[in-house]
């Protein structure tokens, strides 16, 4: 054997090993188990937080493990994407190696008594007449009947729901279509979010669409529950003016569950909040650090050195009796919570009513003269949406086919002579025997009546 032949043989062996491994159901299920385990980690470990969050909320060794192994962003980690890749590979190999080649067993003579589901029925009468009755019985029940002369004996084969053997294949194809749809989104789709203050205009970088927020309305209903007064959010509505590719300005409303479509990109009502104006003065003069624009919750600005002020939270209603935030989110007596951050670490926090100021010491004073509501919009362009929908439908069709239609084959043989016969019948299915046992009993009982009397309204 030459070196090239050795190489080819070795390569062939490796390919065979690969195909054998990836076509194995156990391997596929092992991948499922790893996939499930990684997914579960993502459920338990909070995702997408800053490192400080993990150091603060987990024991140091666990926090180190989470950060080192990318468990804080597990769904986008190499391991997670890799396991999905392996599952898709396994699915493809399994489809071509196992599912597609799976064929019906050939029509062959069997020893009826050796098939677990079997029965024999004594029948009297003319052979032709009995055979015709049997055939009519099966055809009336929707069975596909074929006759074969095998080893000098006449056999009748009845098949049902053979097409359902392709259910798994259809389900696998559904997965592939879904994967194609999501890949299409990754390849050419985009998404993002924007927060627009009332009266302001946002330009969407990917599309150039302009969206101006005319007004944002919210509705909270106070509801008395057993646990106390609850302010239940009822509606969030953005009234916007937008300009798409055609350059024409139009008005529209965006509600939760009712996105706005601008040139194929959908805009969703995702959030709202309150922007606040902060004015930092030193000895009565506005400092250079004082922010020029309204800040949103979570924004911060430097106050010199490694110190910064963070706009932590908007408080809609401060209880005038207690001076503490009430659970009414509507801005009736509003304030903002401001936090001092030194060297990245949060320090003291304080509440400043809107329209007032607090002394920060050293001649510094922080005022919050006004606030404005903003609307948070998410946008997304997803060209693969249709494919994902089709894939989901195909997947479901495949699953239902595989679960609810049982491909079965009956082997029927008539033994005997003159007018005394024994009808032998055996059944096989692709899901074992127990699953067909009750139906087989009913079938045999009905077949007995049919074979004797020609009654065909019995059983499928």
């Amino acid at each position: 054997m030459t070196a090239a032949e050795h190489l080819r043989a070795g390569l062939q062996e490796s390919v065979d090993d690969f195909l054998r491994l990836f076509a194995s159901v156990y391997f596929a299920v092992s991948l499922f188990a790893v996939w499930g385990f990684l997914t579960l980690i993502g459920v338990i470990v909070e995702q997408g937080k800053v490192p400080d969050f993990y150091w603060a909320n987990y024991a140091p060794p666990l926090a180190r493990l989470i950060l080192r192994l990318d468990l804080d962003n597990i769904y986008h980690s190499l391991a997670y994407v890799g396991i999905i890749g392996l599952i898709l590979t396994s699915l493809a190999v399994c489809t071509f190696k196992r599912v597609i080649p799976a064929r019906l067993p050939p029509l062959r003579a069997v020893t009826i008594e050796r098939i677990p589901l079997h029965a024999t029925i004594p029948v009297e009468g003319d052979e032709r007449e009995i055979r015709n009755r049997i055939e009519q019985f099966f055809r009336a029940g929707g069975w596909f009947v074929r006759k074969r002369e095998l080893g000098g004996e006449e056999w009748t084969f009845a098949d049902r729901h053979n097409w359902a053997r392709r259910g798994v294949l259809v389900a696998h194809i559904g997965f592939v279509i879904i994967a194609a749809g999501t890949t299409w989104y990754w390849a050419s789709g985009f998404s993002g979010d924007t927060a627009i203050l009332t009266g302001a205009t946002a330009v969407i970088p990917q599309t150039g669409a302009q969206i101006k927020l005319d007004r944002f309305n919210y509705r909270f209903d106070p509801i008395q529950t057993k646990a106390g007064l609850v302010y239940q959010p009822i509606d969030y509505v953005s009234q916007v003016e937008y300009v798409g590719k055609d350059g024409i300005a139009r008005s529209a409303t965006i509600r939760v569950n009712h996105p706005l479509d601008i040139d194929g990109t959908l805009y969703y009502q995702a959030a709202y909040g309150f922007g606040a104006q902060f004015v930092l003065t030193k000895d009565g003069r506005v400092t250079a650090n004082s922010p020029a624009e309204l800040l949103k919750e979570g924004d911060s600005f430097s106050v010199g050195g490694d110190r910064a002020l963070e706009y932590a939270q908007f408080v809609g209603t401060v209880d005038p009796k207690t001076g503490r935030p009430s659970n009414d989110p509507r801005p009736n007596n509003p304030a903002v919570v401001v936090r001092m951050v030194v060297g990245g670490a949060a320090m003291a926090a304080g509440m400043i009513p809107i329209g007032s100021s607090i002394d920060l010491g050293g001649g510094y004073r922080l005022a919050v003269p006004r606030y404005a509501i903003y609307s948070g919009l998410q946008y997304r362009y997803d060209p693969g949406m249709g494919l994902v929908g089709i894939g989901a439908f195909v997947l479901l069709t495949g699953l239902c086919t595989a679960f609810y239609f049982l491909p079965a084959r009956l082997y029927v043989k008539l033994n005997g002579s003159e007018r005394k016969w024994t009808l032998g019948i055996a059944a096989t299915t692709v899901k074992g025997y127990e699953v067909f046992e009750d139906q087989f009993r009913e079938l045999v009982a009905a077949l007995r009546r049919a074979a004797r009397t020609g009654e065909t309204n019995a059983c499928s």
Binding site: G42, A119, T120, I234, N257, Y268, F403
Partner: protein, 327 residues
């Protein structure tokens, strides 16, 4: 007392009484108990659906917008699916446990009842009338499959115990002692009228032998269906639950697309549902292998239901996310 509260009380009373009666049936196989327990299950189920409908009619608010509503539907659907399977496949022996779980779920649900609350904006969608019933029905199906799986395991380990205790090597004589189900060798031909039909000989010979010797536990275990039949029942119920869960996840993704702008946000609820789906998809794949039918797949079904409970209650209650609609 309002009509919905009366119906709720009727449902709980029917479930609790029905559970006790059907557990008595499970232990005694008294037909009288079955004849009493079945109508109680039907009454409880009807009362519960009526209660949900009444809440909807009184308030004009779709009743499945909170944990109280969904748990109510879970117990009602659990009983309904049980009744359908019981009438079709004679799984009455599982009824006591199903009703007990339904009663517990309903009792627990009442602790989350905060009265009539209008839905938050994200829940104001026609999808809530499609997605939630589908998902909750899948949970209910898996509950029934878990109950039958536990009964399978009781019988399976009972067989092992009796096989160990017997003098002859029963485990070697039958596959049921060592491998849960090997269909080929469990069949033999029995005469039935003029027909000779292949039927299961019984895959728990040690239990049968002990029952013949008058062992009370074995006598009771012998009245349960064969292991092979129980395995098929579990498969059938999972075969209902998995497509429902799949449609539920798909409709949830479509709703998420409409509400949040993305099919999939890796929200804890979504990912926990995905974990459950993976477990049951694994069950279905492994059930195609003879070596995995029976005991192993029964354990997998029980594990699957544990993941469902985590997804349903654990995530709702302990982990905050986009699906945190507790009250």
């Amino acid at each position: 007392m309002q009509l919905d509260q009366i119906l709720l009380a009727v449902a709980i009373a029917a479930y609790v009484t029905g559970a006790l009666v059907l557990i008595a049936y499970f232990l005694s196989r008294s037909e009288l108990m079955l004849r009493i327990g079945t109508p109680l299950a039907i009454v409880g189920c009807v009362a519960q659906f009526a209660e949900l409908g009444t809440r909807w009619a009184i308030s004009g608010i779709w009743p499945l917008t909170n944990l109280y509503g969904s748990l109510s539907l879970f117990s009602a659907m659990g009983v309904l699916i049980f009744l359908i399977f019981a009438f079709r496949y004679r799984v009455w022996f599982a009824g006591g446990f199903v009703l007990l779980i339904a009663a517990i779920a309903l009792g627990y649900a009442t602790t989350w009842n905060e009265g009539f609350m209008p839905p938050v904006p994200a829940l104001q969608s026609y999808w809530i009338k499609i997605h939630v019933p589908l998902v909750v029905s899948s949970y209910a199906s898996f509950m029934l499959s878990a109950v039958v799986s536990v009964l399978y395991l009781i019988k399976y380990y009972g067989e092992r115990r009796f096989a160990r205790g017997s003098t002859m090597n029963v485990a070697a004589a039958t596959p049921a002692g060592s491998i849960p189900v090997t269909v080929q060798s469990t069949y033999t031909a029995l005469a039935d009228d003029e027909i000779v039909i292949g039927t299961p000989r019984g895959d728990t010979p040690a239990i049968a032998a002990a029952a013949e010797n008058g062992n009370a536990v074995a006598l009771w275990l012998a009245t349960l269906p064969s292991l092979a039949k129980l395995d098929v029942m579990i498969y059938r119920v999972v075969g209902v639950g998995l497509p429902l869960l799949t449609i539920g996840i798909i409709t949830g993704a479509m709703w998420a697309k409409e509400s949040w702008g993305a099919y999939w946000q890796w929200d804890p609820k979504e990912t926990a549902a995905l974990v459950s789906w993976i477990v049951y998809a694994s069950y279905m794949h492994l059930h195609t292998r003879n070596a995995w039918r029976g005991m192993r797949s029964a354990w997998l079904s029980v594990f699957g239901f544990a993941t469902i409970m985590f997804c349903y209650l654990g995530v709702n209650i302990w982990i905050s996310g986009l699906h945190s609609y507790k009250v």
